[in-house]
Symmetry: C2
Subunit: 412 residues, 2 copies
């Protein structure tokens, strides 16, 4: 079952065009300046004739459009720049979290073209009702997208929990969800998006995974391999290796919160002992800072911590240092194992990064075998709290960019 990089299927005549469509479109997407057909020809190694034919297909399919001629020095016929279309396919990103619902639409270029955040405590809400609200918001988003000339080609939903390949949410502890079959609950509602071959109608994935994807495709493009840690009540990690999210054998990778950092330490609700979550989770930091969590709305806990730390509160500083140290121990292990050079602190960790990074870096320096030769960067996420929803929508459009043939053949 492991042909080791052998091509997936038969290479027929049409595969050539599919590959070159993806190649050319990928170059247009990756370029920092609208390239001309001639630029693309030299960049890809194809002839200008082929590039022209490929671009014609892409133009007809509303995947790219011609930009105004970029000013260029020297003689010669001016080039016509090609950019990703701002009309055409777009991705729908959804997120259910403890205290908000988010819906957003991202176009091919990665621009957020629509965004709704609906604040509400979702814990007492039944999953079916929460999803119904989401469907309503998604309907509005779709209408707004249509007004802007965008077609929703697929959707992705971020959930703070363990998700199955089939979209079954096995366990989302902080949301109180257990064995929630999302596709099934959605089957009574109108479809969220149009149907496009090669693009799944709805992908359900872990919030941390999708946030990592958002980071991967943010501008400027991040590194191809990194660890993205979302610190909320639980701690999740998205692992991006060689430009692709690594989901694990069953799609449950990234449970860094249950990495043992003190094997004989505090018992954890997972049944283990000394898990990272017990030392660097939101509750642990809040308690360490002497705050009473019950008095704080969940979404303001980290803001309050940042305030206190900013003001020099010793208990808060101490709590953040301890959490950073525990996090650093776990991260050092991961870096030793995977040889990553970048760690991104996201979610609730992002605003606390100024206080978390130093102890994390200290542990890395002390514990990573190769730290002397290859420095490890630890930095906060560049995306805001909606990273997961944006990453979800982005994963849809990245799929179209990576394999545009499906979109182009949608009506045929």
């Amino acid at each position: 079952m492991s042909p080791t990089h052998a091509p997936a299927g038969a290479a027929r005549q049409g595969s050539l065009r599919e590959l070159n469509l993806a190649l050319v479109l990928g170059r247009i997407a990756a370029a920092d300046r609208p390239p001309s057909r001639a630029d693309l020809a030299t960049a890809t190694g194809l002839t200008r004739a082929t590039v022209s034919a490929v671009v014609e297909d892409l133009l007809a399919g509303q995947l790219v459009s011609e930009a105004d001629p970029a000013p260029r020095a020297g003689a010669g016929r001016p080039a016509r720049g090609l950019v990703l279309a701002d009309q055409g396919p777009a991705g729908l990103g959804l997120e259910v979290n403890v205290d908000y619902l988010t819906v957003c639409v991202v176009d091919l270029a990665g621009q957020v073209r629509h965004r709704t955040v609906h604040r509400a405590d979702l814990r007492p809400v039944a999953p079916a009702d929460a999803l119904a609200r989401l469907v309503h918001l998604a309907g509005e988003a779709r209408a707004d997208a249509a007004r802007q000339g965008l077609t929703l080609a697929g959707a992705a939903l971020a959930v703070p929990g363990l998700v199955d390949d089939a979209g079954l949410v096995r366990l989302a502890p902080n949301l109180g969800w257990r064995d929630v079959a999302v596709p099934e609950l959605l089957s009574g509602h109108p479809p969220l998006t149009d149907q496009v071959p090669g693009v799944p109608a709805l992908v359900v994935d872990n919030e941390a995974n999708l946030a990592a994807l958002g980071e991967l495709h943010s501008r400027p493009p991040g590194p191809a391999s990194f660890l993205h840690i979302s610190g909320e009540v639980g701690i999740g990690a998205g692992i991006v290796l060689d430009g692709a999210l690594f989901r694990g054998v069953r799609g449950w990778s990234g449970e860094i919160g249950h990495l043992p950092v003190h094997p004989e330490g505090r018992p954890c609700r997972c049944g283990g002992q000394g898990c990272l979550e017990q030392y660097a989770g939101q509750e642990a930091i809040v308690a360490g800072a002497g705050l009473v969590r019950a008095e704080l709305p969940a979404d303001t806990a980290t803001a309050r911590l940042a305030e206190l730390a900013e003001a020099g509160d010793p208990a808060a500083l101490r709590a953040l240092h301890d959490a950073g140290t525990a996090l650093g121990v776990a991260v050092a292990g991961v870096v030793n194992l995977l040889d990553l050079d970048t760690v991104v602190l996201g979610g609730g960790y992002a605003p606390l990064a100024p206080w978390l990074c130093p102890p994390v870096l200290a542990e890395i320096a002390a514990r990573v075998l190769t730290a002397a030769w290859s420095p490890v960067t630890v930095r906060p996420s560049t995306l805001g709290p909606e990273a997961a929803a944006v990453g979800a929508a982005g994963s849809v459009v990245r799929r179209i960019v990576a394999r545009p043939a499906g979109w182009l053949n949608r009506s045929a």
Copy 2:
């Protein structure tokens, strides 16, 4: 820098044939019975005409050969079975370790066609001299291969240490090597193998990585994602994800030996504290069992431990249990992070597996969040102590199977 799965280069006319050569050859390699051209056509989705043309190329290039017609029930013209050629390209595998040198030749089918083990204490030998001995053994291997109709198409060298992309051994502590530029030291010697386009003349890699590759390609084929742990004096891991070795950003992945298992515990020679190696490395087990390591040749320490454990020696059993527990803590963290379902104990751990597996499994059961839904298998390596050399040679032939066009175009 992250085109996210975009094809590497331009898809020209010839790419089609290259892809289909790889597709068909991969099927032949993966089949458990010699397939006919018709079988391949249905399996790949290509037409029989195309398969015939592709197979003709493969036959001409000595990559496959026709087997005697396999007996088949029913009417019809008998099929001609296709098997990987036992003459043609082969891979050269080399290993330098503390107390032996190994050279072996593996053919396309994965059969070991030549093997030499040269026992000697390599620690007092200068790297250049050790490599010179290896070159001599490789020359004999090449001659033997030629007598068997095999052409060496590339070589891979396993080293117990951190290796650079360029073949620079940064650090091999137990061997006493530091910044050894292997390709440079070899440049004065005659070439180890023939030159084949697309196959590097010599790959230098970590022993644990290559042992994991050996496991991946062993018969019967293992899972596509697993963790292979080589327990020697140091502890190294090879991480195989989706059928490919994950080498990390700089090629230094797998340093599981320095995963912190007791962050405030015993100091480690890496500068950290409480690294796994201090609790589950060979020295720790030997000391825990009350043995004096200096009195044992390095290569007999594990054999002696296994003897004692077999005999029920309490100190040995206790030492193995403690080591297994520490190993289990580390493995549980890795499984939580990567969601792997198989862990292979190799190297010095293989003979000790009967005593190590139970505590490892116990820690996994207690600490892995998803253990209830997805059992994790922990088993000893099926390959012997020469796993790394065999894996090294195998990596060469797998590369040819994965991209046969290079071999076929070698003379053109």
